[in-house]
């Protein structure tokens, strides 16, 4: 049993935009409190997935417990709960915020507040968190803390008179931050003597111990050998281990209300211990779980197919394993005459999709063909039934359906006002409905649109970034389904329907999309030994058509004694290049072509 009085516990998180220095600050806090010795410091300690370090973003959140002796001479326990910094994972963010009483709002002293930060600040305010504004990178020449403070007051309405200037890189301001956490973040309510309620805010899969659950005890206490019930998944376990993250896992006898820790209980998959679930005791269960639990719902879908049909079992195995550590990943077998056997997978968003795809290729050594992302459509059939369609190729024929509805999001873009025009144009092109525009400072605005999710999951984010030189940021949340005039656009390669290239588009855009799609495919599909017609059609009507002319010369002009080895090597290399392609309608189609629909505007 840790015997820390509840009054000397502080649970806090860090809210920051990507690149604003959250991980560096976290590292610095661990170092200055002596939690991690400087020599053990790996840059960005909390981001421990290889992929996270590379991308400089936090995907899976982590937690760390620090001991800090404050100016008042008392030793406090500070629990830092890390939050993922991407819109795909906003549910996880909301759960980790619920585990805290305070938050450091880290803003880059030259760049100002970004959309994602703002969304998380609002979440934090909703959770009644004490927010401590921190202006980071104060040492950089472009830093303008006074302007940024004004911005924070204007946008968020926070009092910045006690904002802390800091440089996580040089260590400036770190002592002030630690003191502020102790002084300003309230201690957790003392509910040690109530029944056990603990909130799961993260979990990951460990190959040896099963699922490791990160949790915050809200009330009561929990110890090793306790039998616990997970209320949403309705499963119970005897605990093998209870401990704290210091930051390496260290076992303790028990944890009480206000504390943050981990447990292991031979849980087989993270789906059995979902983020947001409530832990209680089997012997003395509470009647009501903690509020706010929802199951993460995939919003974006794509097909994953092995390039080499022999790798299908390996892909299935790899997805099984990933699923153990990623409760939000959904998949089911998909078969297509063009692509062979593969899986239809659901993701929280585009980043989640890319991460899974990259992990499959990197960690499991698979060569994948990935189809363009799609959303889930609601199809009202003439017979009154409702069909949810996550694969455009399976959209029923028009004579069977009454209408199609598609998911809409509320989209907020924060941008320097010089980019207003180009962004409004972009939103217009993407069927966005303008709601309003607000000046948040004299030179920054927020644009508010309602837009089909399908338009967002294409290359919207990249387009927004490139049109604004990277200055704009965005946030979106699902607001429901709306009926639209949508049609299924099919692609025929060499007169055969190419299912993975099928897409659902608005009727008014169908002709243009069809035309640019076949043009793009003509660019992306290499010429082969015969002429290849490429067509786009709606139903049986061809709306656009191109053809790739046959390649007529592919020959090694010279081959004498000394050339033979080199020529053979060259031919073998070319033959390998073919492996990255999928044969469709007897045509070798490269991976890029399956993403063609995302690249129509480039």
């Amino acid at each position: 049993m840790t015997d820390v009085p509840v009054q000397r516990i502080r649970n806090f998180c860090i809210i920051a935009h990507i690149d604003h220095g959250k991980s560096t600050l976290a590292d610095r806090l661990l170092q200055d409190t002596g939690t991690v010795a400087a020599r053990d410091m790996q840059a960005q300690f909390l981001d421990n997935m290889e992929l996270e370090r590379e991308r400089g973003i936090t995907i899976k959140l982590q937690a760390a417990r620090m001991e800090y002796t404050a100016a008042d001479g008392q030793t406090y326990i500070l629990n830092l709960i890390d939050t993922p910094g991407h819109v795909d994972f906003s549910y996880e963010v909301s759960r980790s915020l619920q585990a805290c009483e305070g938050a450091l709002l880290v803003v880059d002293a030259s760049q100002g507040v970004e959309a994602q930060t703002l969304a998380n600040v609002y979440l934090a305010l909703e959770n009644d968190l004490e927010i401590i504004p921190v202006l980071n990178k104060i040492d950089l020449p472009g830093a303008d803390p006074e302007r940024i403070k004004e911005e924070i007051e204007a946008i968020i309405g926070l009092d910045t008179s006690k904002a802390i200037d800091c440089s996580a890189k040089t260590g400036l301001g770190i002592p002030e931050i630690l003191e502020a956490i102790v002084e300003r973040v309230p201690p957790p309510p003392d509910r040690v003597n109530e029944q056990l309620r603990a909130l799961i805010f993260d979990s990951y899969y460990d190959a040896y111990r099963g699922v490791i659950v990160y949790f915050r005890v809200i009330s009561g206490q929990v110890g090793r050998k306790d039998k616990v019930l997970l209320m949403a998944s309705k499963t119970s376990y005897e605990l093998d281990e209870v401990g704290v993250m210091a930051p390496d896992q260290r076992q303790v006898e028990s944890l009480h209300a206000g504390e943050v820790g981990y447990l292991s209980a031979s849980i087989k998959a993270v789906a059995d211990a979902r983020v947001g679930d409530t832990i209680t005791l089997v012997a003395d269960p509470v009647s009501e779980p903690l509020p706010g639990y929802t199951e993460a719902k995939p919003m974006v879908f794509c097909g994953l197919f092995p390039t080499d049909a022999d790798q299908y079992p390996d892909l299935r195995e790899a997805l099984n394993k990933l699923k153990l550590s990623d409760a939000a990943l959904n998949y089911e077998p998909e078969t297509s005459s063009a692509m062979g056997f593969g899986f239809r997978c659901g993701f929280l968003g585009l980043l989640h999709m890319e991460i899974v795809q990259e992990r499959l290729e990197r960690e499991y050594n698979l060569d994948l063909i990935v189809t363009a992302p799609s959303v889930i459509y609601r199809v009202n059939m003439l017979d009154g039934s409702i069909l949810m369609v996550d694969n455009p190729a399976t959209l029923p024929d028009p004579q069977k359906r009454e209408s199609i509805e598609e998911p809409y999001v509320k989209l907020e873009i924060y941008t320097p006002n010089t980019f207003n025009g180009t962004l409004m144009e972009l939103c217009q092109e993407r069927r966005g409905e303008f709601i309003d525009m607000k000046f948040i400072t004299t030179d920054r605005v927020t644009l508010h649109y309602e837009m089909p999710l399908a338009e967002v999951v294409t290359d919207f984010f990249d387009q927004m970034k490139s049109r604004t030189k990277g200055y704009a940021s965005m946030e979106y949340s699902l607001i429901g389904y709306r009926r639209n005039e949508l049609v299924r656009l099919d692609v025929l390669i060499n007169s055969e329907k190419a299912d993975p290239l099928t897409t659902i588009v608005h009727r008014d855009k169908a002709y243009n999309v069809g035309k640019s799609l076949v043009e793009k495919l003509k660019e992306l599909i290499p010429r082969q030994q015969f002429k290849i017609p490429i067509q786009a059609s709606i139903g049986s009507r061809i709306i656009a058509s191109e053809s790739i002319s046959a390649i007529r010369k592919d020959v090694l002009a010279k081959c004498y004694g000394g050339d033979i080895s080199r020529k053979k090597k060259l031919l073998k290399k070319q033959a390998k290049g073919k492996k990255r392609m999928k044969a469709m309608g007897k045509v070798d189609v490269p991976q890029e072509a399956f993403m063609a629909v995302l690249k129509l505007n480039q």
Partner: protein
């Protein structure tokens, strides 16, 4: 097969693992009868060239070049150290610009070969010559030294093009040199000669190329080598291409140029006996056919590749490294069989293609393997690229030859899949009708 000096097949009995006698073809390894000598020296390096060459400046000559004087003894030493000599029936002196050597230096090299191997009566002895590197007198001297076939590096009849290729010679040199070769042939001192041309050059179009071919035909060379330009890494052309300053004909025009070559030369009586080589009857290069028929050859000199008994061995490309190499491994050529896939890569370049049955048996392939290969290649046959006539497989002229890489890649893919028997071999889909 071109008779002596190359690989031949014998038919006979062998015992299978069950002790039964079975009939099969197997290759008979004869001592090589072909020798390649590399003379790396050039006046300058042409913009498309990535060979092992040593540029000596525009006024260099074998008569007074210390580099050449220092190199020839190394070459002689390597020749003298060769094992298992059998008389040679072809010698090819290539480069570089071997016509930089004096008739006397060439005579000494041929003497070295005569002493070590012997030369059969009527042996084909080819010298590569640069049009601006010799005159009538020097040519006579070279022929007197024993050269009886010349390969003339003409490349183009257009001075602007020659300039852009970084060549030293001009159209005038080429016409004059060809004139001397024709006279020598008429007098019987030269048995054959060949003209090299490059097609697919920057800014080349059909009318221009037609003119080039017509000028070449007017010289009546008994043999023509017409090579597509290849932009090799490390060349001036590659740098230009990277900077977007090498306006090569697009692939379709490239194909048209190649078709035009075939058409015009066929009309003039030349047979296309290899992808890039055309000859009047009886004038195909005997030496080069050794490479394409899987035969063995000696190779001497810096950067040269030899394959006396099937396994290739490449020599270092700098003089110091070559000299050091001679001290250590010069005398021990590796032995072994060229693999099945390489026999196909080279054999299918020839008009006559390959006898698949013989090659397959020699490589130890079963009847089931041959049937599998035949099924695998069915799409290529249906597209009319590959012709199967009994045991003989060959590429259709011109479609198959023009797309030979596509056919070879399929063959290599089959061969690779067969090398990994643990993975099931998927049969390809039937071909689309083009």
């Amino acid at each position: 097969m071109t008779g002596k000096g190359t690989r031949t097949f014998a038919y006979g009995h062998v015992a299978n693992p069950d002790g039964e006698r079975v009939h099969r073809h197997f290759p008979v390894v004869n001592a090589p009868r072909a020798a390649y000598l590399h003379i790396p020296f050039c006046h300058r390096r042409c913009y498309y060239c990535d060979f092992a060459v040593v540029p000596l400046g525009d006024h260099a000559d074998g008569a007074h070049s210390a580099s050449i004087a220092a190199y020839l003894p190394l070459l002689q030493a390597e020749i003298a150290a060769s094992a298992s000599p059998a008389p040679l029936s072809t010698v090819y002196i290539g480069g570089g610009t071997p016509s930089l050597l004096t008739p006397r230096q060439l005579g000494q090299l041929l003497d070295g070969l005569r002493q070590r191997f012997g030369l059969v009566p009527g042996a084909e002895i080819t010298l590569e010559m640069d049009p601006a590197s010799f005159d009538r007198l020097r040519l006579d001297g070279m022929l007197a030294a024993g050269i009886n076939r010349v390969s003339l590096g003409g490349q183009s009849f257009d001075d602007g093009v020659l300039e852009r290729l970084g060549r030293r010679h001009r159209r005038g040199h080429l016409l004059q040199a060809a004139g001397w070769l024709r006279q020598a042939r008429a007098s019987g001192a030269l048995s054959s000669w060949s003209l090299d041309l490059i097609q697919g050059l920057p800014e080349q179009d059909l009318p221009h190329w037609r003119q080039q071919l017509q000028q070449a035909l007017a010289l009546e060379p008994p043999h023509l080598s017409v090579y597509d330009l290849i932009v090799e890494p490390g060349t001036v052309f590659e740098r230009l291409q990277r900077r977007g300053q090498l306006p090569l004909p697009d692939p379709d025009l490239g194909a048209d140029l190649m078709d035009l070559t075939g058409e015009l030369l066929r009309g003039a009586g030349y047979g296309r006996y290899e992808i890039s080589n055309y000859a009047l009857p009886g004038h195909a290069s005997r030496h080069n056919r050794v490479y394409w028929s899987g035969g063995g050859w000696w190779g001497f000199g810096l950067g040269a590749t030899s394959a006396p008994y099937g396994q290739r061995q490449a020599r270092p490309r700098t003089r110091e490294a070559y000299a050091a190499w001679l001290q250590t491994k010069g005398a021990s050529p590796p032995a072994g069989e060229p693999p099945f896939d390489e026999w196909l890569i080279v054999g299918l370049r020839r008009r006559e293609g390959v006898n698949l049955h013989q090659l397959a048996e020699a490589a130890g392939l079963s009847a089931a393997d041959r049937a599998s290969l035949k099924r695998w290649m069915a799409p290529m046959r249906q597209r009319g690229l590959l012709l199967v006539e009994g045991q003989r497989w060959r590429l259709a002229d011109p479609e198959g030859l023009a797309l030979s890489n596509a056919v070879l890649r399929e063959l290599l893919a089959w061969w690779e899949a067969r090398q990994r028997p643990e993975q099931a071999m998927a049969e390809p889909l039937p071909a689309a009708s083009p």
